[in-house]
Symmetry: C2
Subunit: 282 residues, 2 copies
């Protein structure tokens, strides 16, 4: 692997580029983004060696690996652009938080050049200037090969993630979206809704944001995440997320009922079980 | 002030004692707890100078300040025990997370010896062995005086908090419970319900707790908090908390609707507004 192209030069794209550079990758890293500012910043910071806002330019870069790192809803559109711009041997993969339909649609567009991936890493920060070279160190990276996936290309993607510290695990696209719909997309939806609650419940008399102690700040840190990225994730994993929200609404309604009816014993049991289970994952 | 008694020798009681010792308090610190283990640990760690599991013993300590630091639902019971055990001049205050009715009931039992307080500080940890001497440094401490509160005792409580780094602010007991019902009790209820969701949605096939990335861990850290403490807070601030939960359910339902109907623009607007508002409090 000598020439890597990052599509979407933001926090995730920039971190992938930096991670390569910091783990002995000696080839060239190219960037494509619709925003010229991002390309300029990435170039000035030494994150990419060359960049463009014009997709057809990437033909000249002759990449052997392309990493899609833009918001997930842009993938189809970009894939259509890439289709005839790059050769059959090029490996195209992604860092998208939703797999499901996207994987099958990208396969339809790009053929077996595409391998679906999702590193379980990130922060609430966005923007290429926040990129972190060791973002993936010790983090799970889910790959979602299908029966069509090219074995060689899969191996190449897998070894690239291993090189920069990722721990690769396989899942079907469907299972991936179920699991991350619950453990990641749901908590983000809940955090956004919690901040919205404070906006709506604040009045001229009381600005609730003046009292951010008591866990609120930590709890809603993820609500600072990029709106476009999360809009895309929410819409793209709609079915699983709606099911997860309903599961959560049931849990919250049950807790609410225990409080309303002052069921001391059941309430203690509920909180104890949750605490025990939560402590297990530390 | 020469003799301080901490009632409830756990994380909050221990931190208050340690804070005093670390900020030049040269008097004696006594502890009362129903659990002999807590007393022993606190004594061994040098957090208290003497302790007991027998409430009537505290007569001999002749405290001039008593800090209630046990779960809020124990306050009434303890106040009844204290009523005739200590003199009229003794100042009795607390670190409880709920004020409202409790303040008026404690005033009824203890007269104007009582001053309501709530430091906006804490962690998800419990147990006296985790006590932190600088827990209150730069943190808000809400005092909830009423028309009956003794001015001298209020001043004494206020200067004690100032001495250990707290930033004192006044609120009515009612406003306190409304505000913290939304900004603290609600996030805790939501975090507990979120962990419960993963318990309920995990199956023999998929253990969702195996994938705690994507914000879930940070987001649910507060679900490790002490179950008894939080059961008491939830029940004691029931009315405000139920209103806050309903406010949150409305916000979440609205977000769910935007996702279900794929209202891209409104969804982006919602997430943007939330992000902007959340960034303001950092």
């Amino acid at each position: 692997m000598e020439r890597v192209l990052v599509i979407g030069v933001g926090f995730m794209g920039g971190s992938f580029a930096l991670a390569l550079k910091n783990h002995g990758f000696k080839g060239s890293i190219y960037g494509y983004d619709i925003n010229p500012e991002s390309i300029k910043k990435a170039f000035d910071l030494g994150i990419i060696d060359e960049g463009t806002t014009n997709l057809s330019d990437i033909k000249n870069y002759e990449p052997d690996l392309i990493m899609l790192s833009s918001p997930v809803r842009t993938f189809r559109y970009i894939a259509k652009g890439l289709k005839d711009l790059v050769d059959e041997e090029v490996t195209i993969t992604d860092q998208g938080s939703v797999k499901g339909n996207i994987v099958y649609e990208l396969e339809r567009i790009l053929g077996n050049r595409y391998v679906g991936g999702h590193p379980i890493a990130g922060t609430e920060k966005s923007g290429v200037e926040h990129s972190i070279p060791n973002l993936y160190e010790g983090k799970k990276v889910i790959l979602t090969p299908t029966k069509n996936t090219d074995k060689e290309k899969l191996k190449k993607v897998e070894s690239t993630w291993r090189m920069i510290g990722g721990i690769v695990e396989y899942m079907s696209p469907e299972l991936h979206d179920h699991v991350f719909g619950v453990v990641s997309h749901l908590p983000h939806a809940v955090a956004f809704a919690l901040v919205d609650t404070l906006i709506r419940m604040s009045t001229g008399q009381v600005d609730l944001f003046k009292y951010p102690g008591g866990g609120f700040k930590d709890f809603t840190r993820i609500a600072k995440s990029d709106p476009i990225m999360w809009r895309d994730i929410f819409l793209e994993n709609k079915e699983n997320l709606l099911k997860a929200i309903e599961g959560f609404q049931n849990s919250l309604n049950y807790l609410k009922e225990l409080i309303k009816e002052e069921k001391e014993e059941e309430l203690t049991g509920y909180l104890r079980e949750v605490k025990t289970k939560r402590m297990e994952i530390d």
